[in-house]
């Protein structure tokens, strides 16, 4: 029981960590779009860049990372699936 509750605690923290990053790139930076408009990023106004591309790149990287990290957590507590 204690192994599985430790595993779940770890899993939950990983989830919360990723949702925090998600919150920042989904909502927080777009909230300040008006101020970012005056920042020029390779031609794009930064608010436009973040909504059209920046946040999306963060999400994609995040998911591949999450997939690895969660597997590492599962393996650490020996609850991963057997390879076929």
């Amino acid at each position: 029981m204690s192994v599985s509750s430790e595993h779940w605690r770890h899993t939950r923290n990983l989830m919360l960590g990723h949702l925090t990053v998600w919150f920042v790139f989904s909502f927080l930076i777009h909230w300040f779009a008006s101020s970012l408009y005056n920042v020029n990023f390779l031609g794009w106004p930064l608010n436009y860049y973040m909504a059209a591309q920046g946040s999306l790149i963060v999400f994609v990287i995040q998911l591949f990372l999450f997939s690895r990290q969660q597997h590492a957590v599962d393996t650490k507590y020996g609850v991963h699936e057997d390879e076929q």
Partner: protein, 606 residues
């Protein structure tokens, strides 16, 4: 036919099979390009593209027919993560993404990017909160999870209702989109186009269920992504922004910002043309003030939470071989979706610039109206009523606020007005059709499966034999499809509004019971029922009230009513759960097991 649609050798051969398929499609494209040079007519090219691709999808659909329950409902749980990612991406990207999104950005500028952020960020929720746990559960449908986790026929029934409401709203929009494209390609009335589109959709899904839909969706993804990227790269190369436009179109945005004040973007039109609009929103500058920021983030929020509640997306992750593969597959899905989504703003920007920039031959603003009206694409789209020019100030010169258009035509018309050969337009039509058909397939299957598995088998006739269940699923598929086509041919809503509503319905009813089912062991049946009933009722009621003329609260208009629904749903579910005793020990043990990847699936075990 020697090809088996499952087993190790089939899975190992997948890259080769789809490699050959992609090569074949490119050869077909090249043949059409040569045909155009040799004088093939535009209509013939359009028909060939649509017919060729639809025949291939139907061929795959017929080859992968099946009578096995596992294959029919979850593709035998053997789809590798990368291919499931492609299938999910096709399932996900509908007519709205393919046809309407870039046009929306073109017309509405920065605020519209909330859809881009929302329709990608939702996958973070899918991966962290839902998909791996639902896969471990081993269910066939989303109501299957809710019905088993919370227990009780009423619980299952509520989930079925939410699923049908959300998916049916969504599928009418997709049938509309495929009907529009079929109508244009075959030059037949829209109402006929709807039924022809439906026939194509049904052939792909009816015989082979989830297995057939999976392998046609992979094929459809390949067509739609090629069709989306080719015109952008071509246009960008022609305008001198380089061959990787997505990373290089920054200066194009800068140039638009520079041109906008000169062209007078932002001046309202002096006249009105019903159903069409003029360009008045600035391309990149956000509107000032907290309300604009709030509207951006609430729209993104609705699309994200809706993503994580849509049954036709969640059920795609039931098809992977393992929990780990399900997680991995979410990442691949987002990657394949990302390829199109980060291109859409580039497409919108480049096509806008090609109309605006006086240094480009394709520009129209500031030219004489007689000259613009003589352009073939202006005539063609004008004839079908999707574009109009009015000389409001009578000076004979076209101003920005004298050019009226329907945003949905941008993607389809861009190849023409940017001066690309017609073969590109044929390719884009095939891509748009692939996008609409693949989503409609997934939605119809989600509804037919839940009615046959959950309503018919689990609630009405638990002793029904396999043959009968699968037959029911097929009959239902046709019935729902026809109903969808009937509603679509009545043209009640636009594509985009219907899609946003579907997301809001799904999140109002399903998000809370799905998340809390995994993450809160204490959640019980009474709470789940309350969450679904009050959530859906609140969301729906709010939508009706706003549509009926009520002043929206805090700027939450009809695209954002899911915010109201999901909040009510969570509150109702938590309060009612706490009023009743915790679920029994067996249920709690089940939740514990769902949380670890190792071991048998919950449903497979019993």
């Amino acid at each position: 036919m020697g090809l088996q649609w499952e087993g190790k050798s089939f899975i190992d051969n997948l890259p080769k099979i789809y490699g050959v398929y992609t090569g074949g499609f490119l050869v077909f494209f090249a043949l059409m390009a040569i045909g155009e040079k040799m004088g093939m007519s535009a209509a013939a090219i359009g028909i060939s593209f649509v017919a060729f691709t639809v025949v291939i999808y139907a061929f795959i659909g017929i080859l992968s027919r099946t009578m096995a329950v596992d294959a029919y409902y979850v593709a035998g749980r053997s789809v590798p993560p990368v291919f499931n990612g492609m299938a999910t991406a096709a399932d996900w990207m509908s007519g709205a993404s393919f046809v309407a999104m870039a046009g929306g950005i073109f017309m509405s500028g920065y605020p519209y990017l909330a859809f881009v952020v929302g329709w990608t960020g939702g996958y973070i929720l899918v991966a962290t909160l839902m998909a791996p746990y639902l896969r471990k559960f081993g269910c066939y449908t989303v109501p299957d999870f809710i019905g088993t986790r919370y227990g009780g026929k009423l619980t299952r029934f509520c989930a079925i209702v939410v699923l049908i409401v959300a998916s049916f709203t969504y599928v009418t929009a997709q049938i509309t989109a495929s009907g529009t494209i079929a109508a244009r390609a075959f030059l037949i009335p829209f109402e006929w186009g709807v039924y022809i589109g439906l026939a194509g959709i049904l052939v792909c899904s009816m015989l082979g269920g989830m297995r057939a839909v999976t392998w046609t969706q992979v094929a459809q993804y390949i067509v739609l992504i090629i069709a989306y990227l080719v015109p952008i790269v071509w246009m960008s190369g022609a305008q001198g922004f380089g061959w990787f436009p997505q990373f290089q179109y920054g200066p194009a945005v800068e140039r638009i910002i520079e041109l906008e004040p000169m062209l007078g973007v932002g001046t309202a039109a002096a006249e009105q043309v019903p159903g069409l609009g003029v360009l008045t929103t600035l391309h990149a500058e956000p509107q000032a003030g907290a309300l604009a920021a709030w509207q951006f983030v609430t729209l993104a929020f609705c699309m994200m939470v809706g993503t994580a509640s849509l049954p036709h997306i969640l059920m795609r992750y039931f098809t992977t071989p393992s929990v780990k593969a399900a997680r991995n597959s979410v990442a691949w899905s987002l990657f394949f979706i990302f390829l199109l989504y980060f291109s859409a703003p580039a497409l919108a920007t480049l096509s806008k610039l090609s109309l605006m920039d006086p240094n480009l031959a394709s520009s129209i603003f500031g030219k004489s109206i007689a000259e613009v009206e003589a352009l073939s694409w202006v005539r063609n789209w004008g004839e079908v009523g999707l574009l109009a020019i009015r000389d409001s100030n009578g000076d004979g010169i076209l101003q920005v606020n004298e050019f009226f258009l329907n945003p949905d035509i941008i993607v389809l018309a861009t190849p023409e007005f940017a001066g690309l050969p017609y073969v590109i337009s044929g390719l884009v039509a095939a891509g748009g059709l692939a996008a609409a058909m693949s989503t409609a397939d997934g939605l119809l299957l989600a509804m037919a499966n839940t009615l046959s598995h959950d309503l018919y088998y689990k609630i009405l006739d638990p002793k029904a034999e396999t043959r009968k269940r699968l037959l029911t699923a097929r009959v239902l598929l046709i019935v729902i499809g026809l109903a969808g086509a009937l509603v679509a041919s009545m043209k009640l809503t636009g594509i985009l509004g219907a899609v946003a509503w579907a997301f809001c319905f799904a999140m109002s009813g399903l998000f809370a019971p799905l998340v809390l089912g995994v993450w809160w062991k204490r959640a019980n049946r009474q709470g789940a029922i309350a969450g679904m009933v009050f959530g859906l009722a609140a969301g729906w009621g709010y939508l009706l009230a706003v549509r009926g003329g009520m002043e929206p609260w805090l700027g939450l208009d009809h695209l954002r009513f899911g915010v109201v629904g999901v909040v009510v749903s969570f509150v109702a579910m938590i309060v009612v759960t706490l009023m009743f005793p915790a679920p029994d020990e067996e249920t709690q043990r089940m939740v514990d097991e769902v949380r670890v990847p190792r071991g048998e699936t919950i449903i497979g075990r019993s």
